[in-house]
Amino acid sequence: MKKFLSIVFVLTFIPLLTFGQIGQDVVRKARGAKFALTNAKIYTVTNGVIENGTIVINNGIIEAVGANINIPSDAEVINYNGQEIYPGMIDSGTQLGLSEIGSIAEAKDFREFGNITPQMQALTAVNPNSVAIPVTRVSGVTTALTMPSGGLLPGTAATINLFGYTPDQMFAGSKGIVMNFPSSANRGWRRRSPEELKKAQEKALETLNDTWDKAELYAKIQNTPEARYYPEMEALAKVVNGELNLYIEVDAAKDILAAIDWVKDRGYEKVVFTGVSEGWRVADEIAKAGIPVITGPVQSIPTRQSDAYDSAYRNPGVMQKAGVKVAIRSNDTENSRNLPYHAGFAAAYGMGREEALKAITINAAEIMGVGDQIGSIEVGKKANLFIATGDPFETATQIVDVFIDGYQVPMTSRHIELYEEFLNRTPGLNKHKAITDGQ
């Protein structure tokens, strides 16, 4: 069978390699097929580890997982020789697709004019051809929560799979409203006095409460003829009605406590805290409130000069041990690929490997409300997974294959292409000599 397949491969692809190329470039495309991934150590995340396991992928869905699986005769078999398979990593806080080049306004689409713009759809502005997307997915990150930012209510975030040619092909089924909780902390190098901060915070809280009061009212009347067209309120009403997640970005300990009270007062059902840099200070309170957390970057400096040097590394573990459901994010765009290392640092500083792995797979999926579709290797879930030479938290580990929505995506990116072109550049130092040598 394998022999037959390899003959088919030679017959079908060799002509493509010779004729289907532009100059010397071969365009590598994703492939969708019925796959059987065999002889692998499978980290299911939700059902333990399977040695010498097989995964059958059909129509983008995991059809079978286990040690003794009948391989369908029409499946393309890929033998991974003992390598490890993990569910695709989920970065629950990025601006992937929304930002191409950090310093250029024209290359950024994550912030719209205005302070309250919850109706702005991140998914609309996702550029499926962003260079950072292949760079990210070849590292095993298959899914990302991509978020608008700035102001009080910057817009609606969307969960996307990192493969597809339109935003809809990428959409992974979850959206949520982003809210920046009025902050008592300084951001970046900006220094404001405690008085300035307090004043700004009080004003922001007032605006926020007025807005949500209005949203609650709107939610009551939106299906009556009296309701006028009000897209901001339509968006917020979805939180009031419990349809959408509300992602509340909050970092300083006292702001977290204030946000817990705020959520309790408002009574909204689907609330997630994001950022949560000082969560370790108030971990028990967060756990008691039952609010899940998306935290990170873990590789981050302490929020206060007086804090222990490793407080950011320990933060996810402290919260998890207190009983908080924790997901880890990179809060990065072009380096979302470092997600496993953020998780790795959390693992080393108290969280442990198993919980840290959950924090970038199943926990992230469940927090976003798509835990039934992604985040683990289970029958019926989407085939988002990757194959690695070993522990993906270790930097020496190579990612050998990535499947997203059942497609085997090409293991290339601009970073890899540049490596291939420039490792042994042609010509090297001497152009003329290179030509005469026929290099």
Binding site: I101, D251, I301, E334, A348, T395, T397
Partner: protein
């Protein structure tokens, strides 16, 4: 009687001043025996079950079962990894200001004057196994200020105590977007990469004229000779031409890197390291031929146009093409896990353990001209050592002890959380500061012509 007392107290004060200045000039040196470790020497392989004896701040002996000399502290490092203290060839921690942006050439200023020994970032770097940093001037101008190489002797309030005594002088240059943006903002040259080259050639040509005048003056035997005007900026440029100052040049694109190689060839300047150098991989053969070094990020890219065509395989391509390469932080955050940054070259280019660790030890030591003192574990070198739980290239590695000159400055088991030396007596509430990934990038901080906050905070 009163007059006598006065005299006595003046004398006493003078004596105290004398003694303290002598004491301050003499930094602390330590003795320690690190026992039974896996010793990663960098230059001489990795030695199992090996002891390292440090006497009076220097590595005295490396071997098996070394007898503990009387009065020397023993550290049991069984199961642990010992490596040379990590060196960061590009840092802005411990600097009270970064950019002198008032002119496109400010060779006369030096970071030596703005060292802040009380920056808590120093302790945090020590907690990541770092023992020395290259405190750099910013990148707002084509020829910036002189840098300062420091040892992280945290705890002293005297900036001089942190100086890496005997380290060669270095200076910051900058090409590309940062200096041209400054030119545009002020309506002066340079506003393009052409202007950057012109400014470099003009500066060195003027320095040659200056040198000629002084050479003629010194040769002149006449008693009526008049000295030319003294100019510290020109003096510094002459020192660069004469090879006394190592140049560390902020750069990104391959074309501008190649341009500087040509300018330096024309002026006979040899000691050159490119900083950041995200596109150095494109001209790796040219860099190797020139003998220039590159000090790069492991994976930073896309934060501005000139780093859009980057590859995380940069360090590996450079290494495999024979370019002396280091990995730096340029960040108060990354500096805390440079071992992890170096480890990324095993993902991107599969460098060997020794190649990867050389990127943060012996290679930057060479780029700073201090490789005879630090960067490897060899007898006779400084007792600058980091001890790790787990192999330093593992993501799970935890630095547990750091020594500078044999003195322990970090010990995870006895870590006191609040490491501030100076606490603002006027502040009642400590501010909470949230940093994004690129907030730690201080190259353009204080450059008056640009708003740093806007530049790196996605505004």
């Amino acid at each position: 009687m009163k007059a006598l007392n006065m005299k006595k107290s003046t004398l006493l004060i003078a004596f105290v001043l004398l003694v303290t200045s002598v004491v301050q000039a003499q930094v602390k040196k330590g003795d320690v025996l690190i026992k039974n470790a896996t010793v990663i020497t960098i230059t001489n392989g990795t030695l199992e079950n090996t002891d390292v004896l440090i006497r009076d701040g220097k590595i005295d002996k490396i071997g098996k079962s070394i007898k503990t000399p009387r009065g020397v502290e023993e550290v049991d490092a069984t199961g642990k990894f010992v490596m040379p203290g990590i060196l960061d060839a590009h840092s802005h921690i411990a600097g009270t200001s970064i950019n002198e942006g008032t002119s496109q050439v400010t060779a006369e200023v030096t970071m030596e004057d703005v060292v802040n020994p009380m920056d808590v970032s120093i302790y945090r770097a020590l907690a990541g196994g770092v023992t020395s940093i290259h405190l750099m001037h910013g990148s707002a101008n084509v020829i910036g200020g002189q840098n300062e190489t420091l040892k992280l002797r945290y705890g002293s309030t005297n900036p001089d105590d942190l100086r890496f005594e005997g380290a060669p002088r270095t200076i910051k240059f900058a090409l590309g977007e940062n200096p041209t943006r400054g030119g545009r903002a002020r309506g002066i040259q340079p506003q393009s990469r052409m202007g950057v080259e012109a400014m470099l050639r003009n500066s060195f040509s003027e320095a040659l004229v200056y040198k000629k005048k002084w050479d003629a003056y010194r040769k002149d035997k006449s008693s009526k000779k008049v000295a030319p005007e003294y100019n510290l900026r020109m003096e510094t440029l002459v020192d660069i031409l004469e090879g006394e100052i190592l140049v560390h040049c902020h750069s990104y694109r391959a074309d501008e890197i190649y341009m500087l190689l040509k300018v330096f060839s024309d002026f006979g300047i040899e000691k050159l390291t490119f900083q950041h150098a995200n596109e150095a991989y494109k001209v790796a053969p040219e860099l190797a031929e020139f003998g220039a070094g590159a000090s790069v990020f492991a994976d930073w890219w896309a934060y501005k146009l000139e780093v859009y065509y980057s590859t995380a395989y940069n360090a590996a391509i450079l290494t495999k093409n024979g370019v002396n390469t280091s990995i730096n932080s340029d960040s108060g955050e990354l500096i805390r896990h440079l071992f992890h940054e170096a480890a990324k070259t095993q993902k991107y280019g599969q460098l060997s353990d020794n190649e990867a660790l050389a990127l943060i030890t012996i290679n930057p030591a060479k780029q700073l001209g201090i490789d005879h003192r630090v960067g490897s574990i060899e007898e006779g070198k400084d007792g600058d050592i980091a001890i790790f739980e787990g192999h330093p290239l593992s993501t799970y590695a935890i630095p547990v002890m750091t020594f500078v000159d044999g003195v322990k400055y970090f010990d995870r088991d006895n870590d006191v959380k609040d490491q501030r030396i100076y606490i603002d007596p006027e502040s009642t509430i400590e501010t909470v500061q949230i940093f994004d990934a690129h907030s730690q990038h201080r190259c353009m901080e204080d450059a008056e012509v640009v708003n740093f906050y806007d530049l790196f905070n996605n505004k």
